[in-house]
C-alpha cells in the first residue's frame, strides 16, 4: 500500500472516530426520585435518541435530543418501584436503574375496623388496621405516627398513637360500657378516615322473674326488666325461654322481649317448677304453689 493511501486511511479514521464516539448515547441518572415529581436526566452524545423507562409499575418512552438534558415533568412517573432506564440511539444504548420512592405526604388511608357491631364492655374487642398511601396510591413505608381515636356519645374517647411499620399500623380498643354508635377515627398528618362501630348490649345479666296467679287461675310469669351487666336494656325481640317441669314432664315457651320485659301466662299445676333463661344465661327458678 502506498504512503498516500495509508495517509488517507489514517486521516479518515481520525475524522470518523470522534464522530462515532460523539454519537454514542450516555446518561447520568438520579439514584432516587420521589413519585410524581419532576426530574431531569442528563444525556451525552448527539442526534436523536429514545429514552425508555420500564418497571413493574409503569412503562413509558420519550424521544430525546442526545446531549441535552431530558426533563420528565411532574406527574409522569408516579408509581413507586425500581425502573430500568434505556437510552438508545440506533443500535447503541446505555441502560441504568432508577428508584421511585413514595411521596412522604399521606393522601389516602385504607382503614379496616373490625367488627362493625359488637357487645358493650368488651376488652380489646375492636381492632383497627391502617395502611398509609400517598396521592398515587404508593404505600408510604417510612415510619409515620397514626392516631386512633374511638369515641362514643358518653364516655371519654380512647386514643392511641401507633407508628407505622412498613406502611401499616394497628391497634385494639375496648368497646364502651354504654350502648350506641361509636366513631372510630384513624388519622395521619391531617388525613383521616372514620368507621362507625355499633356497640350493642351484651348478654342479659341477673335474669329474674316473678310468678303470680291471674284472674283465670293461670300463672302469670314476668321477668324484671332485662339488662346486661352494664345496665343497658336488652333489645326487644331477644328471646326469653320459660321452662315448666312437673312429674317428669317438661314444656317450654319462647317469649320475645317487649319493652325490656318478657311475660307469659301458663296453666301450671301446683308443685310445678318454672325456670327462665335467655341464650346461655339462666335466671331464677320458682316452685309454683298455685297462689
Amino acid at each position: 500500500m502506498s504512503l498516500s493511501r495509508w495517509f488517507l486511511l489514517a486521516a479518515s479514521a481520525l475524522v470518523a472516530c470522534p464522530l462515532l464516539l460523539a454519537q454514542r448515547p450516555s446518561m447520568h441518572l438520579p439514584q432516587q426520585v420521589v413519585a410524581g415529581s419532576a426530574f431531569s436526566i442528563s444525556t451525552g452524545g448527539s442526534g436523536q435518541g429514545t429514552l425508555t423507562i420500564v418497571g413493574p409499575g409503569q412503562a413509558l418512552r420519550r424521544s430525546v435530543q442526545l446531549g441535552s438534558p431530558v426533563s420528565i415533568p411532574a406527574g409522569v412517573l408516579y408509581n413507586a418501584g425500581d425502573y430500568v432506564v434505556i437510552l438508545a440511539n440506533g443500535s447503541d444504548e446505555q441502560a441504568g436503574l432508577i428508584e421511585v420512592t413514595p411521596a412522604q405526604q399521606p393522601a389516602r388511608l385504607s382503614f379496616l375496623a373490625e367488627p362493625s357491631r359488637l357487645p358493650v364492655d368488651l376488652q380489646n374487642g375492636i381492632s383497627g388496621t391502617v395502611y398509609v398511601f400517598d396521592i398515587y396510591r404508593n404505600l408510604i413505608v417510612s415510619p409515620m405516627p397514626v392516631s386512633f381515636n374511638l369515641s362514643d356519645s358518653l364516655g371519654p374517647a380512647q386514643t392511641r398513637t401507633v407508628t407505622t411499620r412498613n406502611g401499616v399500623a394497628w391497634t385494639r380498643m375496648n368497646s364502651a360500657a354504654k350502648e350506641g354508635s361509636a366513631r372510630f377515627v384513624a388519622s395521619v398528618a391531617g388525613v383521616a378516615s372514620t368507621r362507625v362501630i355499633d356497640e350493642v348490649p351484651g348478654d342479659p345479666c341477673n335474669l329474674s322473674m316473678t310468678a303470680v296467679p291471674d284472674k283465670g287461675g293461670e300463672a302469670k310469669l314476668q321477668t324484671a326488666p332485662v339488662r346486661d351487666c352494664s345496665g343497658n336494656p336488652i333489645p326487644d325481640g331477644t328471646v326469653v325461654t320459660f321452662t315448666a317441669s312437673f312429674n317428669g314432664m317438661q314444656s317450654t315457651v319462647d317469649v320475645p322481649l317487649k319493652r325490656d320485659i318478657a311475660e307469659v301466662e301458663l296453666p301450671l299445676p301446683s308443685g310445678a317448677s318454672v325456670s327462665v333463661a335467655s341464650g346461655v344465661v339462666a335466671g331464677n327458678e320458682i316452685h309454683w304453689r298455685g297462689q
Binding site: G55, G57, Q58, A59, L112, E114, R137
Partner: protein, 165 residues
C-alpha cells in the same frame, strides 16, 4: 467447527436456562410484633401463593398477557400491573423478570386476619425486549412489600411495591 461449538454452547446453556427460573428461596421466621399469631400452615400457604404470584407476574409481563395475573393479584396490585402491561404493549416491548433469589419474611398479620404483609428481598434480572431483541438487561436488588388478602381458596396479592432499600 463453528457449528459444533454453537451446538455445544446451546447444549450447555439449556440446563442453565431452565435452572435460572428456579430462584433460591429463603423464608425467615415471621416478625409479627404481636398483631396476630400465625399458624404454620397459614404461613406456608402464604409463601407458596406469593411465590406463585411472582411466576404469574413473570409470565404476564413476558407475554404481555394481563389475564395471567387474575388468579394471583387483586385490587390495586392488579390494576397497576395491568396498566403497565398495557403500556408495554403500546411501546412494543415486553419484559422478562428472572428472579435469582427471594428472602421472605412475614411481617404483619392483621388482628382481624384479613390482611398479611410480606417483605421480600429479591434479586432479579429485568430484561427489556422488543420482539426477540434484548434492549437491556439489568440486575436489580429490591425490597418488595406485598400485602396479601385471603380469597376463597388462596391468598392473593392486593398490593405489590418495591420499597426503598
Amino acid at each position: 467447527m463453528i457449528r459444533r461449538l454453537l451446538l455445544l454452547a446451546c447444549a450447555l446453556s439449556l440446563p442453565l436456562a431452565v435452572h435460572a427460573q428456579d430462584a433460591t428461596v429463603q423464608v425467615l421466621p415471621p416478625a409479627l410484633d404481636g398483631s396476630r399469631p400465625l399458624e404454620a400452615l397459614t404461613g406456608s400457604a402464604v409463601v407458596r401463593d406469593y411465590l406463585q404470584s411472582w411466576a404469574a407476574f413473570r409470565s404476564a409481563f413476558d407475554q404481555n398477557a394481563p389475564q395471567l395475573l387474575n388468579q394471583d393479584f387483586v385490587g390495586a396490585a392488579l390494576t397497576r400491573l395491568d396498566g403497565t402491561i398495557a403500556d408495554q404493549g403500546r411501546l412494543g416491548i415486553h419484559t422478562r423478570y428472572t428472579a435469582r433469589s427471594h428472602r421472605l419474611r412475614i411481617v404483619f398479620y392483621s388482628p382481624d386476619g384479613l390482611s398479611l404483609q410480606i417483605v421480600d428481598h429479591v434479586v432479579y434480572d429485568e430484561q427489556v425486549m422488543q420482539g426477540a431483541t434484548v434492549l437491556a438487561t439489568q440486575p436489580v436488588h429490591a425490597r418488595y412489600i406485598a400485602v396479601l388478602t385471603p380469597s376463597q381458596t388462596r391468598w392473593q396479592v392486593r398490593f405489590f411495591q418495591a420499597a426503598a432499600k
